[in-house]
Assembly symmetry: C2
Amino acid sequence: MKLKYAVIGTGAIGGYYGGRLAHAGNEVHFLFHSEYEYVKSNGLRVDSVVGDFVVNPINAYRSTADMPKCDVVIVALKSTQNHLLQDMLKPLLHEKTVVLLIQNGLGLEAELAQTFPNLTIAGGLAFICSSRMGVGHISHQDYGPLTVGFQCHAQQDVLLQMKEDMEAAKVPFIIADDLNLARWKKLVWNIPYNGLTVALNTSTDVIMKTPSSRQLVTDMMEEVLAAAEVCGAKIERSFIDDMLRMTDQMTPYSPSMKLDFDNNRQMEIRAIYSNPIRIAKEAGYYMRKVEMLEQQLLFIQKRMNG
Amino acid sequence: MKLKYAVIGTGAIGGYYGGRLAHAGNEVHFLFHSEYEYVKSNGLRVDSVVGDFVVNPINAYRSTADMPKCDVVIVALKSTQNHLLQDMLKPLLHEKTVVLLIQNGLGLEAELAQTFPNLTIAGGLAFICSSRMGVGHISHQDYGPLTVGFQCHAQQDVLLQMKEDMEAAKVPFIIADDLNLARWKKLVWNIPYNGLTVALNTSTDVIMKTPSSRQLVTDMMEEVLAAAEVCGAKIERSFIDDMLRMTDQMTPYSPSMKLDFDNNRQMEIRAIYSNPIRIAKEAGYYMRKVEMLEQQLLFIQKRMNG
């Protein structure tokens, strides 16, 4: 089976995974906005720890209306843009299209399913350090695995082919039997560090070296574990220690939300905070410290928006 | 009965109340540090909405070792300086001296009682807008009542005389039958606004106008009420609405902790946060959002201290 791919949101994540697939010989169609003219002439450049490459020529588009229907649509937009999906996706969908949301947070697949009840929706978690260096230029510094599972409906044959394509393109690919568990596990890290680096205007290493904020991180991780459990995702307590140890060993790091904050962009508060808080509350657990961080982030976002 | 007063911490609060007593003809001895030379020559100037005055000559000292023993010692230091009291108080105490702590927070009288188990200790709450304008110059803009009650031992005759002296000096004086309740009631306002204006680097009016932070204030007030109740201080729920309404009507305001933060001074985290959190936990209630604010303030204080 030969899969035809589309990438919506050709940034550091979408550009990397889509670029890898294209470089390995797959048919990939990319949506661009401001970068369109540049990549049409110069291609998409990816500097990567597992090998540099340029995708040139590239199937680049300004609008999904000009793109062909595809078998797999990789959505790597920031989740703050997901309200655009209703219109953007339509031209790309045939009856068996799989839409893969490579996005942080919780509840995004369910939101999309409300708009497209019959769509096969998968969720993806990218464990990667990758950033946009400039126009048409992505730098991949570390890691890279992609974890993917189905949320609404399932098409195992497409998933297996995707795994084969990705692995042939040097992307480690993990099939998640339990996407809900995978998403909650990622939230154990994302919830404390994304928001606290913004609220305290600092970086992960300073948080870890200061006893009171280190304890606060631990408290919040414990809340996330308790919330995950009532939502059917049982995570061992030792996972918290693993996350703390991993963060101790990381180089000083600004999570994506801190980069958004520093660059005056919208923060992914809904996906990473509001949705998990609401979903856990509905299931019977109230993450109080996490909710306080959400309240502070909403305050900060409102001040940024003026 | 003629009371001899001492004032330790002759700032905006101690200078105002002590100055009022001296201006009304009472014997008051003031401790100064950097302002000593100036006030010796120029006196202590108080501009007040209920009448300006200058205390000149003034009984000013550089050290409590030079001061006489007094009947009432008014301590209006910032609570971050209370570790100095052990040495400072000794020269001032006779057998029946009453030490009055006019300070924010909780647990300070109990701390002092550990050092001086036989001392008569009272607590005072100042409802006043007063600030230091410059060397030897205090400005009293609004309010003024002083609420006083006993924490350890009691000397009603001294308290009644103090009330008489204060009222003759234009200071409304309220005897608190339940100092614990009075302190918890003041914390209902102090806990959310002092810390949040620092953590969010804003003022009370912006907090009140932003839905997420207004809700956070309400959440924290509810935690304080629950904590107060397990500590034997029952406060009606309507008190929260009163506090919110009062703050809505206030001019934009920076609480004392925000002023300390803006001026790079130590914040009263222990008295206003750590002590109430610990005391409530021991009594069986965990203020989670309040504790998160404490953790953030400790982080901010540590970064300020470098």
